[in-house]
């Protein structure tokens, strides 16, 4: 087991210790950064620019760009040092020391092939080489190259941005050595956190082929039906689980100029009878937009733009027929179709016809792709979920709409019915048999969906067992080997009395009958913090006693968690904010997904951490060996972090902020998080002893004054608002230990009482209530 405590790791990945990426464009650089995020040294090479003084200027420039990328490409700033810049003239021999070579140069066969010959000469024999091509077939790439190269060659197609997009399409040729394939796949899975989807060597592979078809169909049907971009996006977005931007908003986001490029290559590569050609059409409006620099968000604007003329901020949308911008108008879906896909497709209005014309042909096209582009429907669905952020893959969508209805309507339109779709006329694509999810194969036989070793999903466990305990906000599951798993089920996994209550019960139950507790869920976010809506409503009806009870109950249960006689491992992914962060702080250990965004954000809504967050952060910073001695440094440090609601941009950064301990584990692949957390918990069981309470030495009123003065400085400079000062004062009161002077040690109970008092004082203020309301209604902070 590595320092990060990953379970079930196959041995073959160990030998990739150094990676090379050739081509320092957006994709190549992004891939290099993600390899660095895995703690692996990466050589980043590009050509020598003509007449340059610095022969590695391109790679160096790319690294500099990565360091400023938004969203961040590196999980920790120091990771940039793991990317070593170079050029293909002077540094090619360094490839001999690399265990995987990734080519991400311009999409030209001649350039790539010429490079491959040089790579082959430089690499150590048996080193896997892969291309990040999105359009060129593997057969073309390796044509004419030596057998040894062909054995080690494959396509690894990343999606942009490589850190955040979980899809990796992998294509192996008939000659590719299964060992090379396995080696690269395992590394991508375990170290880069990618979901590897095996694709066949067909143009555009899976996601771009189907995704481009869908986008193009959505554009031309909107034009043909005379829909506005808002109407089209209202249909082709949220209702079907597509990104809420809709298609035109999505094109703005990725850049309009990318479309013709991908389309062109698909047009050239796909056989003449492929339905793809039917949706291809020159769209003069889009050509004109690209020509004049209206390429989307990165350009002067796209189908939408923010018009700042005359100092205003007007959201505008383009008129598809005239090409002129006009004020954006929200489009409403046909009545009754908001939540009913079949009703939307069947609605006898332009938006309904649009839904059908785009969806009907897109889903039929998806059905043609098996077995042509992938062996099974699972690969197609996975690719669209992870590569295009569809909530449901196309076959899951067909199950939701009903294949029979789809077939009937396609027949009515005189369209061909793909054989795979016909197979599903009387049976779903997915079913659950004996507690296992199964998919329909092209032979009409259902097969189990088999998870890779080391992947444990609550979603699968739920099919097999009933919860041990359950209420409206949380559930407790038995995940085997004496470990229970507490899952939040509330909206946004926000913490309420239901969750706190069930956590309390879980602690008792584990103590009686089990070995360890894991706190984990499969939502987008681990927890966005306490349920502010409930708190706000309670405050509005002046039920302050109820609010205070929730604060003190939460404090008590978190203390019980901290001092439980068994290990509690929290396993966050996504956001762990406020009370969610405080839960991590009280756990025996944390196994975090690399993409964990952790912070105590209470000050943003005019509150302070009230469930022991101040206490735990003080304890951690006081114990931090690198800190100067004396009572002041720890409170100052916590004040600095908490008063401005700092949130880590990764699990790695959370360690720097001490939201995670140095020894806490990080899992790169989201699907492996639960298994890793469980393994960590089990490993702790035998020798487990709960922590001993630590008294704190805090500076008292004089320390408070120092912190408040710092806040006042911010206020004078216009960075902090009037209410920020009120909040800062309350926070400083807690962190300084109240009236304590630094000779008397302060107990945990005393700090908890200070937290509770300050919290209750703040939540009675109108400015705090206004902040909470504003955040709930807009998702943004109110600067009052």
């Amino acid at each position: 087991m590595s320092e990060n405590g990953q379970a079930g790791k196959p041995a073959k990945t160990r030998d990739i210790r150094k990676v090379a990426v050739i081509g320092a464009g957006v994709m190549g650089a992004g891939i290099a950064a993600q390899v660095a995020n895995a703690g692996i040294e990466t050589l980043l090479l590009d050509i020598v620019p003509e007449g340059a003084d610095d022969r590695s200027a391109i790679a160096k420039g790319a690294i500099a760009k990565l360091e400023k990328a938004e969203p961040a490409a590196f999980m920790a700033k120091r990771n940039a040092r793991l990317v070593v810049p170079g050029n293909i003239e002077d540094d090619l021999e360094k490839l001999a020391a690399c265990d995987w070579i990734i080519e991400a140069v311009v999409e030209r066969l001649d350039v790539k092939q010429a490079l491959y010959a040089r790579i082959d000469a430089a690499r150590a024999p048996g080193t896997p080489v892969s291309s990040n091509t999105s359009t060129i077939p593997l057969g073309d790439l390796t044509r004419g190259l030596p057998d040894g190269f062909r054995r080690d060659f494959l396509i690894t197609h990343f999606f942009n941005p490589p850190r955040y997009m979980r899809l990796l399409e992998v294509v192996a040729g008939p000659e590719t050595d299964p060992a090379s394939l396995a080696r690269v796949s395992a590394f991508a899975d375990l170290k880069l956190g990618k979901t590897v989807v095996p694709c066949k060597d067909t143009p555009g592979f899976i996601a771009n082929r189907l995704g481009t078809y869908w986008l193009q169909a959505a554009v031309i049907e909107a034009l043909d039906l005379g829909l506005s971009v808002e109407e089209a996006d209202a249909v082709m977005g949220r209702p079907f689980g597509f990104p809420k931007t809709g298609v035109f908003g999505l094109l703005d986001l990725v850049g309009l100029d990318l479309m013709p490029h991908v389309q062109g290559s698909l047009k050239r590569a796909l056989p003449a009878d492929d339905p793809f050609h039917a949706v291809l059409r020159d769209v003069p409006l889009i050509e004109e937009m690209i020509r004049t620099g209206y390429t989307g968000r990165k350009g002067k604007g796209g189908f939408y733009r923010l018009n700042r003329a005359d100092g205003g901020k007007v959201k505008e949308a383009i008129d598809l027929s005239s090409g002129a911008y006009r004020t954006e108008e929200k489009a409403a879906l046909p009545e009754g179709a908001e939540k009913d896909l079949a009703a939307l497709i069947g609605a006898p209005v332009p938006m309904g016809r649009y839904a059908w014309r785009v969806l009907g042909r897109t889903l039929a096209y998806a059905a043609r792709l098996v077995p042509e582009a992938a062996d099974d429907i699972v690969a197609i669905d996975e690719a669209m979920r992870l590569g295009y952020n569809w909530k449901w893959g196309p076959f899951e969508l067909i199950d939701r709409i009903g294949a029979a209805a789809l077939i009937a309507r396609l027949k009515q339109d005189g369209a061909d019915i793909p054989p795979l779709l016909a197979l599903a006329e009387s049976q779903p694509f997915y079913r659950v048999a004996d507690g296992t999810r199964q998919y329909l194969g092209v032979d009409g036989v259902y097969r189990d969906i088999v998870r890779p070793e080391g992947v444990l999903l609550l979603a699968d466990i739920k099919l097999k067992t009933a919860p041990v305990l359950k209420n409206g906000s949380a559930a407790l599951w038995d995940i085997g080997d004496g470990v229970l798993c507490l899952e939040f089920t509330s909206k946004g996994n926000s913490l309420d009395d239901g969750i706190i209550g069930l956590l309390g019960k879980a602690l008792k139950l584990v103590k009686e009958k089990h070995k360890a507790l894991v706190i984990y869920n499969e939502g987008t976010n681990f927890s966005v913090g306490a349920n502010l809506g409930l708190a706000l409503f309670a405050c509005n009806i002046a039920a302050f006693g109820e609010v205070e009870k929730l604060v003190s109950t939460g404090q008590k249960v978190y203390q019980d968690l901290k001092y439980a006689p068994f290990p509690v491992v929290a396993a966050p992914a996504g956001m762990a904010l406020g009370g969610g962060c405080e839960l991590l702080l009280h756990s025996s250990a944390v196994q975090a997904h690399a993409e964990s965004y952790i912070g105590l954000v209470e000050c943003g809504v005019g509150l302070i951490p009230g469930w022991g967050g101040c206490k735990e952060m003080l304890t951690r910073w006081q114990a931090e060996p690198s800190m100067p001695k004396g009572p002041m440094p720890a409170p100052s440090k916590v004040f600095e972090t908490v008063s401005v609601a700092t949130v880590s941009k990764s699990a790695a950064e959370a360690k720097d902020l001490l939201f995670l301990r140095a020894g806490d584990g990080i899992t790169m692949n989201r699907d492996r998080l639960l298994a890793d957390a469980k393994a960590r918990a089990l490993a702790m069981v035998e020798a487990y002893a709960p922590p001993k309470p630590v008294d704190l030495t805090l500076p008292g009123p004089s320390g408070k004054t120092a912190m408040v003065m710092a806040a006042e400085g911010f206020h004078r400079r216009g960075v902090a608002t009037k209410h920020d000062l009120v909040v800062a004062d309350a926070l400083a009161t807690v962190l300084s230990g109240g009236k304590a002077d630094h000779i008397e040690p302060v107990t945990e109970a005393q700090i908890l009482e200070l937290e509770r008092e300050s919290f209750m004082r703040l939540i009675r203020t109108h400015a705090t209530l206004a902040r909470i309301e504003h955040t709930l209604e807009t998702g943004r902070p109110l600067r009052n």
Binding site: E335, G533, L536, F537, A538, C539, N540, I541, A542, A543, F544, E546, H766, L769, I772, E773, L776, E777
Partner: protein, 596 residues
């Protein structure tokens, strides 16, 4: 006999002593408004209602309105009374000076409204409707329409109506059918039938300005496709005077249980010329600013009738000699004791009094917020006032009209058989008061508005404007010598209201029928707690004032005693209401429609 004298002493108490009228002058446009000026205005108004309006109440009821060939005649004396009213400048007291009004604050004008409702409810409806139309137009009409119509309406020479209801749609205006066809000159041709139009046709004014809800040709279905139009009876000529007759006709009037002096018309629009008020398809928004103002006014109607019934009942209870006091004769010199000696008669009178004075105090609090939301210089104060008014509007409407009807009925009870026959006018109060529970949104709809819209708005923010001051008051007065014993029960009732609010917010979110099942009891619970809070505050003021030199101790002692009666005998209803609410909908919804 109908007996009514405007309760000026109590009005002054509410306005000056309870709600601090001396601070009105700090609000925008009210620098001239001093307590002395207010008292003078109230006294003049009292003269008007006692001398001009009250004498026509019974006769107007007996005679009623008459309809003939599209013409409606109001009862004898109404026309002259209306002229006196308009000439006295009363019609524009609450309107903006920009349009010729006097710009008096709602804190004052709402009291005058109450007096008019007590003296002659049917008469009061005519200027009341004009004022509602004024509110809608002044907020939503284009400047040109305002300039053409508002001065006349403020003056009172033209009156207003609101035309919403159609034969097939009342509460559910989404079903509305009246059409509006755009005309080349920018006007609209309105066609359709409206019913239950108060003051739709009458002989008091030279012109009538109808505000009509109708659909444009491209209107979306339902409530989001309704627009508001101004349709005058006579199209104003170039000189601004009524000119050509417009295509709007009264085709009949309703025969009603009460408010006989008010004409309730069936109206037919046949290509009538109208102008758009506000934006297309946004008519409900414009209509709601009128409706909110009207809903508060209807609440005032309940209070007005309740007060008149109370005064009449007190007069009778003092003079009607029947039987002897249970504890022994109080007036051995007389053939029998006056019935006011009997506990049950006392119970009746105290109940009426406690509700009336409580409602007047609450109305004063709402009026003050109406003034603040229009005139405060502090945006936060304006918003809190808006929140509070939005929250309290359905409560004032439904609670005051329920209590107004109850009080009219209790007043009749004091009279016994003499209340049931026509001669004493007590049954008129019962008949007149009954409509207020129905129109401007039935009280059931008010309750739904409270639980469905007002309660969840901005995660309960409107509630804050009520709950926070009440909790603060309770916390601050637990040990108060006079108020302490009152805030004990108030605190309990307030706790029940908090629990009920949380219960509905939680259950109603999951099942709207649960919120619907709790709505009426919840509104009542909210209302009785609000009155309880008003009584506690009034007791506090009375306790402070009664020890001042030369104080009217009889008045203040009566206040404190009535406050105690409210807490002892009326507020306990709160516990029962909470019990009913938490039982949920199950037994209420158990029967299949066929089982009824």
């Amino acid at each position: 006999m109908q007996v009514y004298q405007p309760p000026l002493r109590d009005m002054r108490f509410v306005l000056h002593e309870l709600h601090g009228s001396d601070t009105l002058k700090d609000m925008k446009g009210l620098s001239e408004i001093t307590p002395d000026l207010i008292d003078a205005v109230l006294e003049e108004a009292a003269k008007l209602v006692t001398e001009v309006l009250a004498p026509l109440n019974a006769s107007g009821d007996t005679e009623g309105c008459t309809y003939e060939n599209g013409v409606v005649r109001t009862p004898k004396g109404f026309k002259d009374a209306y002229r006196t009213y308009v000439e006295g400048g009363w019609n524009g007291i609450a309107c903006d000076p920009e349009w010729g009004g006097q710009g008096l604050p709602a804190s004052v004008t709402k009291l005058i409204e109450e007096m008019m409702c007590s003296a002659n409810l049917a008469f009061g409806l005519y200027p009341g409707l004009t004022h509602g139309a004024y509110v809608a137009l002044s907020h939503h009409a284009p400047q040109e329409l305002k300039a053409r119509f508002l001065p006349k309406m403020v003056e009172g020479t033209w009156s207003g109506t609101m035309c919403l209801t159609e034969p097939h749609c009342g509460t559910d205006l989404g079903l509305l059918r009246t059409r509006a066809e755009p005309q080349p000159d920018g006007s609209y041709a309105i066609t359709g039938n409206k019913i239950f139009i108060s003051a739709g046709e009458h002989d008091l004014t030279e012109n009538i300005v109808h505000l009509v809800l109708a659909r444009l040709p491209d209107a979306p279905k339902g409530i989001k496709g309704i627009s508001l139009f101004l349709v005058p009876k006579f199209l104003p000529g170039p000189d601004g005077r009524p000119g050509m007759r417009n295509g709007v006709m009264c085709t009949g009037i309703e025969h009603k249980m009460g408010i006989h002096g008010s004409s309730t018309c069936q109206m037919s629009f046949d290509g009538a010329t109208g102008w758009l008020v506000g934006e297309p398809h946004k008519g409900m928004r414009a209509m709601f600013s009128m409706m909110n103002s009207e809903r508060l006014s209807v609440g005032t109607q309940g209070l007005g009738v309740g007060e008149a019934a109370y005064q009449s009942a007190v007069a009778y209870a003092r003079e009607r000699l029947q039987g002897r006091a249970l504890s022994g004769a109080k007036h051995p010199d007389l053939p029998a004791d006056p019935i006011i000696v009997h506990p049950d008669v006392r119970r009746t009178l105290m109940t009426m009094r406690a509700y009336n004075e409580g409602c007047r105090a609450l109305a004063g609090w709402v009026s003050r917020n109406l003034d603040l939301m229009e005139r405060s210089e502090d945006p936060e104060e304006r918003r809190t006032a808006e929140d509070f008014t939005a929250l309290m509007t359905p409560i004032v409407k439904a609670l005051f009209t329920d209590l107004g009807f109850l009080n009219a009925s209790l007043g009749m009870q004091v009279y016994g058989g003499h209340g049931y026959i026509r001669d004493h006018g007590m049954e008129q109060y019962v008949r007149d008061a009954r409509i207020a529970m129905i129109y401007e949104g039935t009280n059931g709809i008010q309750a739904l508005d409270l639980v469905g819209r007002k309660l969840p708005a901005h995660t309960g923010r409107y509630l804050r404007a009520f709950f926070h001051p009440v909790l603060d008051f309770i916390d601050a007065h637990l040990d108060h010598e006079v108020v302490g014993p009152l805030v004990g029960p108030l605190g309990k009732a307030f706790g029940a209201l908090q629990l009920a609010t949380g219960f509905i917010a939680e259950k109603g979110l999951r099942d709207p029928d649960e919120a619907g099942a709790a709505a009426t009891e919840y509104l009542r619970l909210f209302g009785v707690v609000a009155l309880g809070y008003m009584w506690a505050r009034m007791a506090k003021v009375a306790a402070e004032k009664r020890v001042e030199p030369g104080a009217d101790t009889a008045f203040y002692d009566a206040k404190i005693a009535t406050a105690r009666f409210y807490m002892d005998r009326l507020l306990p209803e709160a516990a029962a209401l909470w019990g009913a609410i938490k039982a949920g909908k199950s037994s209420m919804m158990a029967l299949d429609p066929a089982q009824f």
